[in-house]
Point group: C2
Chain length 207, copies 2
Amino acid sequence: MSVAVRSPQQDRARRTRARLLDVAGELLAEAGIERISTNMIAARAGLTPPALYRYFGDKYAVLEALGRRLMERQNAVLDAWLARHAPGGIASMADHIGDLLSRNAAVTRAEPGAVWILRALHASPQLVHVRLESHRHVTDRLVDACAPHLPGIDRKSLWPRLRLAVEIGFAADEMLCEEDRIPADAVRAETASMLRAALLDLTARLS
Amino acid sequence: MSVAVRSPQQDRARRTRARLLDVAGELLAEAGIERISTNMIAARAGLTPPALYRYFGDKYAVLEALGRRLMERQNAVLDAWLARHAPGGIASMADHIGDLLSRNAAVTRAEPGAVWILRALHASPQLVHVRLESHRHVTDRLVDACAPHLPGIDRKSLWPRLRLAVEIGFAADEMLCEEDRIPADAVRAETASMLRAALLDLTARLS
DNA sequence: TGTACATCAGTGAACGCGCGTTCACTGATGTAC
DNA sequence: TGTACATCAGTGAACGCGCGTTCACTGATGTAC
């Protein structure tokens, strides 16, 4: 990173940056993380290689930005879901987990190469922190939403349980992208009912 | 792959091949799949680059062999577990899922860079099939073990449920390798109890 | 037990290629007057 | 509304490097007699 990367000033630049990320997602799906290159990304976006470095400090910055963009979109889905169902308490949330999983899957499907982005975040030592931070953030939000309704449980013991639930939700979504021998809706429903049972189990232990 | 790769004839060769795989696992953890190279692997194993090509057709063959070796070890754990608990029926298996998860985790911990191997299998388009096939195989074995005790459920509807359970088991194991904010044993117990409930739910639907 | 010899394991040197990245630059955009 | 000008976006050419892989070879191993 020779020169600090400034955020785009012009409309054209914002479009170019977004195009670079879209293209990077496509190439990640086609070539995989070990084959993707900055030169490939620039070429596919209709740019020469140096143009990429106006927007990203280095190769990993591209992939990191790509990951963050996807996770922000997923977080937006979560926020909307929480706004709607958290006021209804644990039972309301538990009953609508399937809804959350479907909406999240829709985001994943809309993003070019989304599964591959998630995998790259998983598979590259330089990028693991992005995914980890995002999953932790999601867990924090869920704890915030659930804790008020579970006065008998302290946050410290709630966190690991919800962290596991988050991981399972994302794992199910990723699995559905590669496993074509199972019906997506049925498995999402199954996942939802498992998570629902786990969540309701928390309240049950209080009484 | 210029010349068909023959399996090693001498003891020295078998040791060399195993050493190449061990070293590849270490490097995968240190450098990640986008940085690892055949030259690096050979150098670390104390060999010159061409020696590697006596054992593996190309770079992906190394990673594929590495993945298969790990999955074979995991399968051995599963087979032992099934031999022990399958005769006891669904309830016996359901009660010992935690045991399976722990033993599987032990295998993962023993292999150098095991998490990274699993991630590489996940993240490289050329390698996804290895992981997918292994998870399907595990699912098949579980279906074989469970089906006789669930005469009311046909294999077609059993398969997706167990496939999901397999994915969740592996996902939990992988998560524990990177998430240090949660106690491993507690989360394995939690995972086991979720899977247990899901499994017992199958029998409950029969009555 | 010793040795000749066939086979197997590993080497030294090299290849063409595409990688990530940088430089000094030209062309496009938007704004102040 | 027109234009001069500062700033921003993208270019052309090039770099050193390590990659994956191949070749014709030498040294090590094990076996038949």
